[in-house]
């Protein structure tokens, strides 16, 4: 194989859509210093956003492998995480311990919600992604009421005047703000690297990778690849799918806690509503198809998606000298989602 062939082959494997996006991202990074935005700040922005969002994207992997499609029901897992976070604070835990407790409390919620969600998906094989979307939406709406009604009392979380009902945004200062990011954080000039968060992501990514190499993990991939084959090989297809849904939901719960510790706030009410789409887009941009996804797809996809979403508004703002970063952010992220969904491919049966 000549050098040229080898390069063409590796480009082919990387895929045209990813090449285009990578090219665009590189272009933005090159333009940035010329229009007056600070490149190191931007880079550390991308790294930070990667560390916040990585696990939410990772949560897509189990369900994709078992053939349940992309987990548009991500908000359900996110709600489990939010319950864990708020209860941990309500129970009076502070600092790093509150993060650990949030994970511990969120886990049973994620398992129960995941099991119910998996049971629902079992009933509607074939239309998983559509149903999942509405499972996500309706669970968010239900929780909008619950956040108001549930008997939370912690003064840091409830509305000041009424003394009950959770606020839309809750600051995590004194609780688990930067709980992971603060661990062994590296600061060089304007670049700051949240080592702890990255390591935590790496740990979970490794766990998923390892799981997919076990007997059960292999069965999960086979169920996604050809459920009839799996059934003929004696696999309990429904159970494997259920397991994948529970895993996805739990990862989403952990994912949102990691997101919050980086971001510094808990966002309630309608915030989880739109959290599935960026994660779905990221993994699609990373090169996953509806029933094939690897850890590499997660990493590449998250970097590209978050890179574009962070860089575009900054660069554009600086070019047109007007503050419309929010508008551009929405245009860029929705555009990316649209682009990713057009790239959606299904493997052959």
């Amino acid at each position: 194989m000549t050098m040229k062939e080898r390069i063409t082959a590796s480009f082919k494997e990387f895929g045209l859509p990813r090449l285009i996006i990578t090219g665009f991202l590189v272009l933005l990074l090159i333009i940035a210093p010329f229009v007056g935005s600070d490149l190191p700040t931007q880079i550390s922005n991308i790294i930070n956003r990667f560390s916040w969002n990585g696990i939410l994207v990772l949560a897509m992997v189990p369900m994709v492998h078992s053939g349940c499609g992309l987990n548009f029901g991500l908000p359900l897992g996110i709600i489990s995480g939010l319950l864990g976070a708020t209860l941990s604070i309500e129970l009076g835990f502070t600092g790093g311990l509150s993060f650990l407790m949030a994970i511990i409390i969120a886990t049973p919620f994620a398992l129960v919600f995941g099991a119910l969600y998996g049971w629902l998906l079992k009933k509607i094989k074939g239309g998983e992604m559509m149903i999942a979307t509405y499972v996500g939406f309706s669970s968010v709406s239900l929780m909008c009421m619950m956040w108001l009604v549930l008997p939370y009392h912690s003064p840091n979380m409830v509305w000041g005047l009424a003394g009950k009902g959770l606020r839309t945004t809750i600051s995590l200062e004194g609780y688990f703000d930067q709980a992971l990011a603060g661990i062994a954080q590296i600061n060089i000039g304007n670049i700051s690297i949240p080592t702890g968060t990255l390591l935590f992501f790496a740990l979970l990514a490794f766990a998923i990778w390892a799981f997919l190499h076990t007997r059960t993990g292999t069965a999960m991939t086979a169920v996604g690849s050809n459920p009839k084959f799996a059934k003929a090989a004696g696999i309990n297809v429904d159970w494997i799918r259920m397991l994948s849904v529970i895993m996805s939901t739990w990862l989403a719960a952990i994912g949102i806690l990691v997101y919050e510790q980086g971001f510094g706030f808990i966002q309630l009410y309608m915030a989880p509503f739109y959290m599935a789409l960026p994660a779905v887009s990221a993994i699609l941009i990373g090169g996953a198809s509806v029933n094939k996804a690897s850890i590499m797809n997660v990493i590449v996809g998250t970097i590209l998606f978050q890179g574009i979403v962070t860089m575009t508004p900054t660069v554009m703002n600086n070019i047109i000298h007007m503050d419309m970063s929010e508008v551009i952010r929405i245009i860029a992220s929705m555009g990316m989602i649209l682009f990713a969904l057009t790239r959606k491919t299904e493997a052959s049966r």
Binding site: T214, R215, S225, F229, K231, N236, S348
Partner: protein
């Protein structure tokens, strides 16, 4: 009956292959106006493909077209869509009904060819808003039904009709086309009761008197002799015989259909008498609800160490037997293996009892098309028998042993001569024959005591066929595995089986030693056909 004059249809040197797999070889056929041609042959003999070519089915063009020429009235034609064929006067009645359930017979007969009335809205907005001329429609439908000669209720909804009447509605639809000169009937009597079938045969006769030629495909040979002027028999893509029906008999047609005279290699090979062996698998009153292959009541004993063949025509239920026992379709009855009862509808228990199954649906059930050969070969053995795993933390973690998987895959690649670039190649990239070998390797890797093989040579070329059969025979002889092989090709069953059971109408119509004559098998096959 007008049978002289220039032929209406002439097919010359028709050849067709699907991806290098020859299904039709040099077919020459002539049909005069008003002539009725009976076309018979086992399933897979190429009848449907030939008719698809004639009717311009789109999948023919999509798979690379065909060779040879078709002449209609002396003019060369080549249809790329069924619409062109209909335009030229060819009609086809399919086995599956293409009728709209919620419409009545008249509406279905004239669908999209309704007589129309103009009204003032359509004057403005165009023909699409014309109203239907119900009176004229009724008249046209009545003519078509009269032409057919069988009385059906023209105003009955399709979904409330008995199946036979649905079939007649389809035929009436074809007859209502004025340009119709050649009608293809693909197993029309399969769903009819005896009386309806007689009515249909009369109707074919009356069509022929009106100068419409008919190609009539059926498994009921008596019907062919009753109604056809000429009988054409196909086998393995070759037209083996085309004679006037007065010069042939059911025995002769059967013989031509199922195979050549016994050749030296089959008659000399060893056929073991297994009567005295122990019964290893006992099937009692098995029913299986497999669409298109319903098993009604099968009782069968399989002897230890034998190769038992299960044959029969398509749709009679032979495929349902292994699929039902292995739990892939809803089944009932009693299955005993080695004196222990095996619960039905549970694939896992069957596999744990060391059964293995090579499905006839290679791409649907048999393979993980998007995964490597390694996965395909090792997966069931890994899941069921915990092979090819490394254990960590006292068995808590079962890690895939890639090295062991590669070794076993390479072993079978060598043994079965699977043509591939490496054991990492995806299964979908292999040819049909090699995919089939992978399916066998998958079953062999389970080291079963009882192996079900379903249609192991379907859609693969002659060379691969021989290899697959040889691999099965060797596996049986060397490992002492009992093999139950289901196949529509009697000839290959006779090549490797010890005994052959013939399934007809969802029941076993008889079990014969493999060296019985083709006539005997043929008789059994057609005995209980429904």
């Amino acid at each position: 009956m007008e049978t002289n004059g220039a032929p209406l249809l002439k097919m010359q040197g028709i050849k067709k292959d699907f991806f290098g797999n020859q299904v039709l070889a040099d077919i020459n056929l002539e049909l005069k106006a008003g002539e009725v041609l009976g076309l018979c042959g086992e399933n897979g003999a190429g009848k449907s493909t030939l008719m698809k070519i004639l009717f311009g089915a789109t999948d023919i063009a999509e798979t690379g077209g065909y060779e040879g020429d078709i002449y209609l009235d002396g003019q060369k034609v080549s249809f790329s869509t069924p619409f062109e064929a209909i335009e030229a006067g060819i009609g086809m009645v399919h086995q599956e009904f293409s009728l709209i359930p919620g419409f009545d017979a008249t509406e279905n007969i004239l669908l999209n060819r309704e007589p129309e009335k103009y009204n003032f809205i359509s004057e403005i907005f165009g023909d699409r808003l014309n109203t239907l001329d119900r009176g004229a429609m009724d008249e046209r439908a009545r003519e078509a039904v009269d032409k057919m000669g069988v009385a059906i209720d023209r105003h009955m909804m399709i979904n409330t009709m008995p199946v036979g009447h649905k079939q007649f509605t389809e035929i009436a639809r074809e007859l209502s086309k004025e340009q119709l000169r050649l009608l293809i009937l693909d197993e029309p009597t399969a769903v009819l009761t005896e009386r309806e079938a007689v009515a249909l045969l009369d109707s074919i006769k009356s069509m022929s008197e009106r100068g419409i030629s008919v190609i009539f495909i059926t498994h009921r040979l008596q019907e062919i002799l009753t109604v056809c002027d000429t009988v054409a028999v196909m086998r393995d893509g070759v037209l083996v015989e085309c004679v006037p029906s007065s010069e042939t008999s059911i025995t002769q047609i059967t013989k031509r259909m199922v195979g050549r005279e016994m050749n030296a290699s089959t008659s000399q090979r060893e056929i073991r008498n297994t009567e005295d062996s122990k019964t290893v698998l006992k099937i009692e009153k098995l029913w299986v609800d497999m669409p298109g292959e319903t098993v009604r009541n099968v009782s069968l004993d399989v002897k230890e160490g034998e190769i038992l063949g299960i044959g029969g025509l398509a749709g009679q239920g032979k495929l349902g037997i292994p699929n039902g026992i292995m739990g892939l379709y809803e089944a009932g009855g009693r299955v005993e293996f080695d004196g222990k009862e095996i619960p039905l509808n549970s694939p896992r228990v069957c596999l744990d009892s060391s059964f293995a199954f090579v499905s006839e649906d290679r791409r649907g059930v048999g393979l993980l098309l998007d995964e490597s050969l390694e996965w395909n070969v090792a997966f069931p053995a890994m899941q069921i028998q915990n092979k090819f795993l490394k254990k960590y933390l006292g068995g808590l973690i079962n890690w895939r042993d890639e090295k062991a998987i590669r070794e076993v895959t390479e072993k079978y690649i060598d043994e079965l001569q699977i043509k591939c670039t490496s054991s990492k190649q995806n299964a979908k990239e292999l040819s049909g024959g090699n995919q089939q070998k992978v399916c066998l390797a998958k079953a062999f890797a389970l080291e079963p005591r009882l192996l079900f093989v379903s249609e192991p040579t379907r859609g693969i070329d002659v060379g691969a066929k021989a290899l697959v059969l040889e691999a099965l025979r060797r596996f049986n002889r060397e490992s002492g595995v009992t093999v139950v092989m289901v196949s529509s090709e009697l000839e290959e069953l006779r090549q490797i089986c010890d005994r052959i059971a013939i399934v007809s109408g969802g029941r076993i119509s008889g079990i014969l030693p493999a060296d019985s004559t083709t006539e005997d098998f043929g008789t059994l096959m057609l005995m209980g056909v429904i």
